[in-house]
């Protein structure tokens, strides 16, 4: 099993490296001159040339990349072109808020989706209704849902704050939005796995042993349902940590998604790359954690041939 | 027709599927492979079909080595028809009976396939003729496999196997998933087809009795090795290798008055402690040279054999030949007997 873990870590590192290379190269495809971005009103070409030299922009690609990589490994993400501070200090605060929202969003979608799935399985008559709800949630674009919730609960019912900020009261609506959008996936997984489990031979064995329905559900069925759910949670945490831009924009949630969009518009290359790297690392990391947890829960996934 | 010459097959992770196996299927003859799970008989089928290549040793078809590469395997594949175990898995549920049975014609560009004289209509006639030959006359060509029982599906599979007029028919446990009363029908069908078309037949089964009734020569396999081989009647009635004897003894009684298994402890081989198909530590993939796979010491049956000696555990017994068709791999074979039935 250790071998499987190590292999995953190695592939993860390779994946992150690949992302770094790709986004580095991408910057050179995007139109726009970083020197201009830094000094938009400079008239003197010499000033611009000076800036370029300072930023090592006139050196060959490989050299630039190597120096960037070197800095990265030392924990230095570079300096923002626009804000004259380290990229880390630009991204840092946003990261905290995005992390909080990601966590809240995942909790919401697991609870909502899991609940829907359970309902559909245990009460067959409600199944059609649950399907309809799922379909609706899947169909709604995320920003529409966010805006609707904001309008309804914020402006309409005055139940939620609308002025921005990032406290516990303000996290409710954006987390709920994420939760509702992600719920159908979990509902489907839970419903499918539970159906399969209940019809399975080992549940029949459990019934023949005279175990109660509740006991069977808790001890025998749920463990088998966890496995695919854990994989999805890992994926979601990773992707949300890359910045759920739409939700952050709608609710003015000060996360790194917003930071990334600003940086892109301002051609603030170091910050963009910083957010990309943070996102890649988050995805890889949480996928790895999800895999490990799954191996703990489901012994069949432990030994890799 | 098909030859295995010192073939070994080791999968990644060290699982030894075949260990220095030499077998011959003569043209027009029939060879049966008997073994339980982990014996390697299915691997033999896969090698014979060209689905995999041996780790060492040589596979021959019609005297020449199996070619490399899919394109060069094509003409060879046309000459091999096969019927596999699971009738519910081996037919594509989305294809009509007509498409299933005529598929070999399309793949190999044979007469009766599209583009050939007669075109589609010609194929239909061929398909109908084949289905009649396997006992499904008047079957609806547009029906789907779901309509048929296990036995019916195997008949469709047999029709598909034979439509290309192959030279060889390979059957891997074709009746194991079928009801008892249907098994004999299917086996009889295969035998008839074999005789009528003068096919070479490779028949794989776990049932020693069934094989003994169906083929000329039987090879008994255990954990990747051929432990005994000979004419079917002889191997059944007078097994020389302890494993063959154990297989023979393990078959349940014929009559309640002659109980042997459930009536106390039979003196037989010790049960298999671990999964015989599991990888063995210390064997790297590709480690096989000529001869026995390194890392497997002694006779493969020694750990269960009631007659095993120290020599059996250290040395691999070579094949003792008793005449051109009869051999077994044992230092202390069971003396010749004849089991009265």
């Amino acid at each position: 099993m250790a071998r499987a873990v190590i292999r995953r870590v190695v592939f993860g590192v390779i994946a992150v490296f690949g992302v770094i290379v790709l986004s580095f190269l991408l910057e050179f495809v995007v139109p726009g001159d970083p020197a201009r971005a830094i000094a938009p009103r400079a008239q003197n070409l010499a000033v611009l040339a000076n800036i370029r030299r300072q930023l090592h922009l006139n050196q060959p690609l490989a050299v630039q990349f190597a120096s960037y990589l070197g800095n990265l490994l030392r924990g230095n993400l570079g300096t923002s072109y626009i804000q004259r501070q380290s990229v880390a200090s630009v991204i840092g605060p946003g990261l905290k808020f995005t992390a909080a929202l990601a966590l809240a969003g995942v909790v919401a979608e697991v609870l909502l989706g899991g609940g829907l799935g359970l309902l559909a399985t245990l009460f067959p008559r409600v199944r059609a209704l649950v399907s309809a709800v799922n379909l609706t949630l899947l169909a709604i674009p995320i920003f529409v849902l966010g805006l609707l919730l904001l309008l309804a609960f914020g402006y309409g019912l005055h139940l939620a704050p609308v002025a921005g900020g990032a406290g516990p009261a303000q996290i409710v609506l954006p987390a709920l939005t994420l939760g509702l959008i992600g719920a159908p996936w979990y509902a489907q997984i839970v419903a499918d796995q539970m159906q399969e489990s209940i019809a399975s031979s080992y549940v029949r064995t459990a019934v023949s042993k005279g175990l109660s329905d509740g006991y069977i559900l808790r001890r025998h069925v749920l463990r088998n349902v966890l496995s695919p759910a854990i994989t999805m949670i890992g994926l979601d945490l990773g992707s949300y940590l890359s910045g759920v831009v739409t939700v952050e924009v709608v609710f003015a949630w000060p996360g790194i998604g917003l930071t990334a969009v600003d940086a892109l518009q301002n051609l603030d290359r170091p910050v963009v790359m910083g957010t990309v790297i943070v996102g890649a690392v988050a995805v890889v990391f949480f996928n790895l954690v999800a895999d490990l947890v799954r191996m703990l829960v489901d012994p069949r996934t432990r030994e890799e041939a | 027709m098909i030859g295995f010459e010192g073939v070994s097959k080791i999968y990644r992770g060290g699982r030894v599927a075949l260990d220095d196996v030499s077998l011959t299927l003569p043209p027009g003859g029939s060879l049966g492979l008997v073994g339980e799970s982990g014996s390697g008989k299915t691997t033999c089928v896969r090698l014979a079909l060209g689905l995999e290549r041996p780790t060492s040793g040589r596979m021959t078809f019609g005297g020449a080595a199996y070619p490399q590469g899919r394109r060069r395997m094509r003409p060879l594949r046309r000459q091999i028809g096969f019927v596999l175990q699971d009738p519910y898995d081996s037919l594509d549920p989305r294809m009509t009976v007509r498409d299933i049975v005529s598929e070999p014609l399309r793949i190999h560009g044979l007469p009766g396939g599209p583009g050939a004289p007669g075109g589609r209509h010609g194929a239909d006639q061929l398909v109908a003729a084949q289905l009649a030959a396997v006992g499904l006359p008047g079957a609806d060509l547009r029906s789907y496999p779901a309509r048929y029982s296990g036995g019916g599906r195997q008949r469709i599979a047999i029709a598909r196997a034979l439509i290309g007029a192959p030279a060889v028919l390979i059957c891997d446990e074709p009746t194991s998933s079928l009801d008892v009363s249907v098994q004999s029908q299917i086996v009889n069908l295969l035998l008839k087809a074999g005789h009528e078309r003068d096919l070479s037949m490779l028949f794989v089964s776990h049932d020693l009795d069934l094989i003994g009734r169906v083929v000329q020569t039987v090879a008994v396999m255990y954990r990747g090795c051929v432990v005994e081989i000979g004419p079917a009647d002889q191997v059944r009635r007078s097994p020389r290798h302890p494993y063959t004897r154990a297989l023979h003894d393990a078959v349940p009684a014929d009559h309640p008055s002659r109980r042997k298994l459930a009536a106390g402890h039979p003196a037989g081989p010790a049960p298999e402690a671990a999964d015989p198909a599991a990888p063995v530590a210390g064997i790297a993939a590709g480690a096989a040279g000529a001869g026995a796979v390194a890392g497997r010491q002694g006779c493969v049956f020694a750990h269960r054999c009631p007659r095993a000696t120290a020599q059996c555990r250290e040395e691999r017994p070579p094949l003792t030949h008793e005449g051109p068709l009869r051999s077994y791999a044992c230092f202390d074979p069971i003396p010749e007997t004849d089991f009265a039935r």
Binding site: D298 | G150, R213, A232, A250, A263
Partner: protein, 341 residues
């Protein structure tokens, strides 16, 4: 019902007039069967015979969609009249079940020791430690060497034979008066089957339970059974003491099954196998008259119109030998003529 029967003694299983329907499909028709304490009753049949439905109905393990009518009594308790949760509380003490596919029937993510221990924890109020100990003892009782180590393993880490032993351990753990076994050895290698049969032979001398053993293998019947019941298309078509069933089968289907096995085991090599023509009737396909008539060499016009009742034959040596046939075999060994194909 006498006081003794009411007190939990009496036959291990008594089924009277059992009917099982899945919607329009009539899977079991008016079946009556008795298993005495300490007796093994073999329930013989193929696909569509209704044997699994009958056994599952006796253990009340059918899904709610199945409509079950009739009387089922286990060791005197009329379970067909008990409510759902009432039965659930006592069922593990009344009937133990051995499923066919042990890999599917065991929870893949729970160690097997815990799965066995559950029974003691839930039904005997054992603490965690006590249940674990009891589980190890139960595994030892089914002749698993190093039971403590095995108890920690997961089902996929065990061999097929070991898994089946675990299932058996679970079934006999609380020493119920009835054990229902649904083809537990069908999916096993023949030598593994031999071990399991030996184990069962051993267990039955130690236990007083009655066994309802489903199989299609007449050899297993010969090894284990005291009494045999043959099912076809949802009905019991013959039943009686096993010696009589083997020596003097009355129903042509029984004769056919026995002849098939006999021919397989001792027929001359290279000749076609004995076969019963046609395929097993699916339960939905049965019309008026005897379900076996289309396949029967002795069928006459009355067979097509009149479904024969299960009637006793003229006096056997002990117990009742019943057959549902208009033309039961007249003398011992009168076999159906082989229908060549």
């Amino acid at each position: 019902m006498t006081a003794a029967a009411a007190a939990g003694s009496g036959p291990a299983l008594e089924v009277t007039g059992l009917d099982v329907r899945y919607g329009p499909v009539h899977a079991v028709r008016d079946a009556s069967l008795t298993v005495q304490a300490g007796q093994v009753v073999a329930l013989i049949g193929e696909t569509g015979s209704g044997k699994s439905s009958l056994a599952l109905a006796a253990a009340r393990l059918l899904p709610p969609a199945a409509a079950v009518t009739g009387r089922v009594a286990i060791a005197g308790t009329v379970v067909s009249e008990l409510g759902g949760s009432e039965f659930r509380r006592t069922r593990a003490r009344l009937v133990g079940c051995i499923a066919q596919d042990a890999m599917a029937a065991l929870n893949p993510v729970v160690p097997v020791g815990r799965q066995v221990g559950e029974l003691f924890a839930v039904h005997r109020g054992a603490s965690r430690a006590e249940a674990a100990q009891a589980a190890v003892a139960a595994l030892a009782a089914v002749e698993i060497t190093s039971p403590a180590a095995v108890a920690r393993l997961y089902p996929h880490q065990l061999s097929g034979g070991m898994r089946q032993r675990v299932m058996i351990a679970m079934a006999v753990a609380l020493a119920p008066p009835l054990i229902v076994a649904d083809e537990p050895t069908t999916a096993l290698d023949v030598s593994t089957q031999a071990e399991i049969l030996a184990l069962i032979g051993d267990l039955r001398t130690r236990m007083r339970a009655g066994f309802l053993w489903i199989t299609h293998d007449m050899g297993v019947v010969a090894e284990l059974a005291d009494w045999a019941a043959v099912m076809y298309a949802g009905r019991i078509v013959e039943q009686g003491p096993v010696q009589e069933i083997f020596d003097a089968p009355a129903h042509p289907y029984t004769e056919g099954l026995l002849a098939t096995r006999r021919d397989l085991r001792s027929g001359p090599a290279g000749t076609p196998l004995f076969q019963i023509p046609g395929s097993p009737a699916a339960p939905g396909e049965v019309g008026a008259g005897c379900a076996f008539a289309p396949r029967c060499a002795r069928a006459s016009p009355v067979c097509a119109s009149d479904d024969p009742a299960l009637d006793p034959l003229g006096g056997g040596p002990d117990g009742l030998h019943l057959a549902a046939c208009h033309h039961p075999a007249a003398s011992p060994g009168a076999a159906v003529r082989a229908v060549p194909r």
